[in-house]
Symmetry: C2
Subunit: 132 residues, 2 copies
């Protein structure tokens, strides 16, 4: 909790210029794909997703529900990636919040698509901390 991790420069750079934004949130709904319920696999996937987006993983938390469903989040030096699987309706919710204009949340998303193989995907891209 008190590790001396510097926040990524991505947090700060874009806001030095006017009319910029602090980060991007990709809110993705994956439907009818692979059902992944193994905590170790979800952990591996979160770390890989962070890496693909050139983010630095800080802390990972996973929680397995009974009888089914798993939810996990990796905190990043550039924000976070959240996953929650919902096998009962074959649905996976994914949030990728990345900071700065150079963030590559799409890369993480691309990788997650490969892992979960959804037949249908709904994505919303939301700019966060828009400076006017």
């Amino acid at each position: 909790m008190e590790k001396k991790t510097k926040r990524s420069k991505r947090w700060v750079k874009p806001i030095e210029k006017p009319k910029k934004y602090a980060g991007v949130l990709l809110a993705a709904d994956f439907w009818f794909g692979r059902v992944i319920e193994n905590p170790k696999e979800i952990k591996k996937i979160l770390i890989k997703a962070a890496k693909e987006a050139k983010n630095i993983s800080l802390e990972i938390t996973i929680h397995k529900f009974q009888p089914q469903g798993i939810t996990g989040v990796v905190l990043l030096a550039e924000s976070h990636i959240f996953i929650s699987t919902w096998p009962e309706i074959n649905y996976v919710a994914i949030d990728i919040f990345s900071c700065g204009e150079k963030a590559m949340p799409e890369k993480a998303l691309q990788y997650l698509k490969k892992e979960f193989k959804p037949k249908k995907v709904v994505i919303r891209k939301i700019k966060r901390g828009v400076l006017k």
Copy 2:
């Protein structure tokens, strides 16, 4: 990680009916409010926010950056609440993802406004897992 927590019924109920959605994501930008940088205080705030929304807290992860900034997430039986403070621009990003139509993310938001006292708030409400 292997606690026998049942996922909240909120995850399942609304999807039994057609044309419903699985959850709601409130993406909030708080500007020019209180700067809270104490991990213990952030932890307390996350727990209280979850409680206000009648959610059950499962796991909390907080990460303090050097020299400033703090990011934290509480996983819920009904999804998650994420906070990231950004003192350098007096900005706080908050995501409240709650499941089911009976979820009360607004209550959590109301409480968080009281704590952070932002002078300007930008909120986006996004329905997640919309069943057509």
